[in-house]
């Protein structure tokens, strides 16, 4: 696999694009500002240089390039595979209720070809139910296929996200890449570092990913009490306190983060489902907790491997960026410094991460540093 990474900032590429990497076996991943007119020129240029390549991407809440964080930019990785086949799949949908079906369609179409090793997913960040999407995926996923990826972001505005596919910026879309063959290596890890605090609560009223009441009290009121003056910045400020959700029948808890609020209904919509009867607790994190969490994700990813040459796609939650503020690059660096010099890193801050949960099942994560490491063995 030949590879290159680029950063487009203030209308300028950080280095000359290497057109020799263009081929039908070339995959280009792009993560850029949600304000896409700022980077349209960059996409036009990429498309003109890499005519035969497959270019996909999504909007972000911050772009990761190597060990740095950027805003209003475009972070790009070009992967020219030598032996690996890949297949692009695009799923358009109209309504959030189709999330599960979208998951099924992705897997069904990508599994039509033999020897599927992994699926990398980029999804609309606002109009999808990530839990349902991953449940749909899990419902028909063959054993041993690694699924990872993330939901698009929109800084901390939660207004509009885009997916780039077929030369267009679109919403209501999930784009996925299936990677096939013996030569491709894909590993994924995910770690948060948040700690639960306060009292243990029970979800008493919720529908799918919309939470109405906890312990018979309006969920929004609880969040407002905890946020105090910061509650005027909801939903963004809700990211300071993710929710640990322990569903009935699952030992492993999940972390859920706020997407939107409804003042009239006093409800909060999360990136994933919050089933009634689940045990929930608010979570908090110190800078050190989050940076250590990111480090652990890198450690888990590289455990028992010595990868000399590859691409790391770091997808971290916007909530982490909000807490870390100007220390955000500490967590990016905590991951990056663990790689050999031949491993390059791009990525973005998201509204949700997708990674393996338990064996042969992926799930939607929130508030984690999720890593996907790709390399080819020849």
């Amino acid at each position: 696999m030949k590879k290159a990474t680029y950063l487009y900032k203030n209308g300028v590429w950080n280095k000359e694009l290497d057109g020799s990497l263009d081929s039908e076996q070339t995959l280009i991943l792009c993560f850029g500002t949600s304000n896409h007119p700022l980077i349209e020129e960059a996409f036009n240029y990429l498309s003109s240089i890499f005519k035969n390549s497959t270019i996909i991407g999504c909007s972000t809440s911050g772009e990761i390039y190597q060990d740095e964080l950027f805003e209003g930019c475009l972070s790009v990785a070009i992967l020219k595979f030598e032996k690996t086949r890949f297949k692009l799949n695009k799923e358009r949908f109209e309504d959030i209720s189709q999330s599960y079906e979208v998951g099924i369609n992705i897997v069904t179409k990508l599994q039509e070809e033999e020897d599927l090793k992994s699926i990398f997913i980029l999804s609309d960040g606002l109009f999808i139910n990530g839990s349902k999407l991953t449940k749909g995926i899990n419902s028909c996923l063959k054993e041993g296929v690694i699924v990872s990826g993330g939901l698009a972001g929109d800084d901390d505005r939660f207004e509009k996200t885009w997916i780039f596919v077929d030369g267009q910026f679109i919403s209501h879309c999930v784009v996925s890449i299936g990677l096939y063959g013996e030569n491709i290596n894909v590993f994924s890890s995910s770690y948060g570092g948040w700690k639960q605090f306060g009292i243990n609560r029970i979800v008493t009223n919720a529908i799918d990913n919309t939470l109405f009441e906890i312990d018979d009290k309006p969920a929004l009121r609880i969040y407002k009490d905890y946020l105090g003056e910061n509650s005027k910045n909801l939903p963004a400020s809700g990211l300071f306190f993710p929710l640990m959700v322990k569903e009935k029948g699952y030992e492993k808890p999940k972390v859920r983060t706020i997407l939107s609020i409804d003042e009239d209904k006093q409800s909060i919509t999360f990136a994933g489902d919050i089933p009634v009867g689940s045990e929930v607790m608010l979570m908090k994190a110190s800078f050190a907790d989050l940076v250590n969490g990111a480090y652990k994700s890198g450690e888990e990813l590289l455990f028992g491997k010595n990868v000399e040459d590859g691409i790391s796609i770091a997808i971290s939650c916007v909530g982490r960026k909000l807490v870390l503020g100007q220390k955000t690059e500490d967590e990016i660096d905590a991951v990056y410094k663990q790689f050999n010099s031949g491993v390059e890193q791009i990525g973005y801050y998201s509204y949700g991460e997708i990674a393996p949960f338990i064996e042969n099942e992926c799930d939607l994560y929130n508030q984690t540093m999720t890593l996907t490491l790709i390399w080819e063995t020849i």
């Binding site: 605090f197 306060g198 300071f240 306190f241 908090k284 807490v323 503020g325 100007q326």
Partner: protein
């Protein structure tokens, strides 16, 4: 440029492309101040958020603790109510047993009165009656009614609630209880071995409550012995002193209580009897009375005992009561 330790500060300078302080333009400086101010604001907000969440969380924990106290009080009150109900049920059960015992006790004198009266009627009809015989018959009837009255008095005592603890002889209490159950024991072919019936073991407490306990244990022993195919059926009573306490031991030779249930028999609603016979409250109430009212102890074990030099095996209830000082 002097080396800085702070990562954030280093990054801020890097972002603004500041490497040389001497040539710092006003615009760059203003940009730098802006970015530094942002850091201060973030830090202030972090401190506010943590302090506020700590306050809210502490308040919630306090509320929860208070709620827990209320909930505990509610549960305790529910339990007290439940205990009250149990007591009432147990009283009814005890009354049921009493009525059964009264029926046993009255059957014989009632039948006696009936026989005497019928015989008198026949004699009057046949004009065979003499004044002397009539007198004898009336005396016999009076004897029977006296016995009936005594039975009623015994049972009335049994249900009379003692207001204050009084000194009483444990052995007397047992003797009176045996009087109540004696006939049903005889009818069931069970012998009560009560060789220490003339001794004195003084205690301070509520005699009638102890009678309820003893009658319960004696009835249980009887029920355990009735279905057994044994040549001789015994219940043996023993008393002994142990330090400041007196111990009443009630043995039966019904073979003992199965190991898997012996630890549960004092629990409420635990019964081995058919629903129509047992409420499962008898021994629970016995334990309540002995431990909570008499400040004593009641235990059960399976063990050997002797009657007339012969060894028998069965359950043994030991009731420990404080001696009168």
């Amino acid at each position: 440029m002097e080396e800085l330790d702070n990562k954030v500060l280093k990054r801020q300078l890097k972002k603004l492309d500041i490497s040389d302080y001497s040539n710092l333009s006003e615009t760059k400086f203003k940009q730098f101040l802006q970015i530094v101010q942002q850091t201060y604001d973030e830090m202030d907000n972090n401190v506010y958020r943590l302090e506020n969440s700590l306050d809210v969380s502490s308040k919630e924990l306090n509320d929860l603790t208070q709620n827990l106290e209320i909930r505990i009080e509610e549960e305790l009150s529910k339990n007290r109510e439940k205990d009250k109900q149990l007591l009432i049920q147990a009283k009814f059960a005890a009354m049921g047993e009493m009525i059964a015992n009264i029926a046993h006790q009255w059957r014989q004198p009632l039948s006696g009165i009936s026989t005497v009266a019928s015989s008198m009627l026949v004699q009057i009809e046949l004009e065979l009656t003499s004044l002397e015989e009539a007198k004898k018959s009336y005396e016999k009837i009076l004897e029977f009614t006296g016995y009936l009255t005594q039975t009623i008095e015994d049972f009335r005592d049994y249900f009379k609630k003692d207001k204050y603890p009084r000194e009483f002889n444990i052995v007397d209490c047992m003797n009176k209880t045996i009087n109540i159950v004696e006939i049903s024991y005889k009818n069931s072919g069970i012998k009560i071995v009560n060789s220490q019936k003339n001794q004195e073991y003084l205690s301070l407490g509520f005699q009638n409550e102890l009678k309820q306990v003893l009658i319960n244990i004696l009835n249980n022993a009887k029920d355990a012995l009735i279905p057994k195919d044994l040549k001789e059926k015994f219940v043996k009573i023993e008393y002994k002193k142990e330090g400041l306490n007196s111990i009443i031991s009630i043995y039966d030779n019904a073979g003992g209580i199965p190991k898997d249930i012996i630890d549960n028999i004092f629990e409420p609603y635990f019964t081995t009897k058919h629903k129509s016979q047992g409420t499962g409250l008898g021994l629970y109430m016995c334990k309540q009375i002995i431990e909570n009212h008499a400040n004593g102890e009641i235990i059960v074990e399976n063990k050997d005992f002797e009657v007339d030099g012969k060894s028998y095996f069965g359950a043994c209830f030991n009731i420990k009561l404080k001696n009168k000082e």
